[in-house]
Amino acid sequence: MPEMLKEILKNLVSKPATVNYPFVKPEPLPATRGALSWDMDRCDQCQDCERVCPSMAIKVLPEEKRVEYQPFKCLFCFLCIDNCMQQAISNSTTLTAPGYEKRVEVFEIKKQ
């Protein structure tokens, strides 16, 4: 007797396990490691994040007063968040969106 029979018939009559993803968006879990952003009011351009980044996705340019972040190089390990003394880096639970090009996100300090 084939042993899967019971399971298969059960699946056939019960609801599919599929999340109809792009049409139904489930609530993101609070711990999800999503896209990063820099709060430039807090950032003091210390380059700590650049130093710890394992994949060199962050470039801090103190002279030009900006941070260049490459989401297509980032590992989402969140070492930068853990190591930021100023707590200038924050994450969201939204995932980084795919794109036709490799974007570079630039965060600049507003000129006074």
Binding site: P16, A17, T18, V19, N20, Y21, P22, P54, S55, M56, A57, Q70, P71, F72, K73, C74, L75, F76, L95, T96, A97, P98, G99, Y100, E101, K102
Partner: protein, 152 residues
């Protein structure tokens, strides 16, 4: 929308090739095909044959040995075709940026249409990427049809 374009959008068959990723993205591609995400809803079938595939999914940073294989696979795929780089290392090398035997991103070997970020790219992101890729496929399909008309 024309029938042919619509059919092309509804049935993207994918070919998966690993160019040296850590397997994280590969298993997530497989996870995208399994019940929870079920990519077959969009007509996606994981076909093992480059001659019958529409979208080439590449994971991994590409190295000197597999770049010829990758190029071969790309050349064997018939038009209209698309290339998706899945995961950070396929996009730009990421963690393998200073590994001596990697090229740092598959776009150095074949033209890439859609970049999917994430380490490893999640099934949600892969599905989003496919949706983006389909928009590009529609453009390509229309261009191809115009070309055919001109040819006649």
């Amino acid at each position: 929308m024309k029938l042919m374009t619509k059919a092309r959008l509804k049935s993207p068959w994918v070919l998966h090739f690993d160019t040296g990723s850590c397997n994280g993205c590969d298993i997530e591609i497989l996870a995208a095909l399994t019940p929870k995400f079920d990519a077959e809803r969009f007509g996606i079938v994981n076909i093992g044959d480059p001659k019958q595939a529409d979208i080439l999914l590449i994971t991994g940073p590409a190295n000197h040995r597999n770049k010829t294989v990758l190029k071969n696979l790309y050349d064997q795929m018939p038009e209209p075709k698309l290339v998706m780089a899945i995961g950070e290392c396929a996009c730009s090398g990421a963690i393998f940026h200073n590994c001596p035997n990697t090229l740092g991103g598959v776009d150095k070997v074949v033209p890439v249409d859609v970049y999917v970020p994430g380490c490893a790219a999640r099934p949600e992101q892969i599905v989003d990427g496919v949706v983006l890729a389909l928009q590009k496929l529609a453009e390509k399909s229309e261009q191809l049809e115009k070309k055919e008309k001109k040819g006649e």
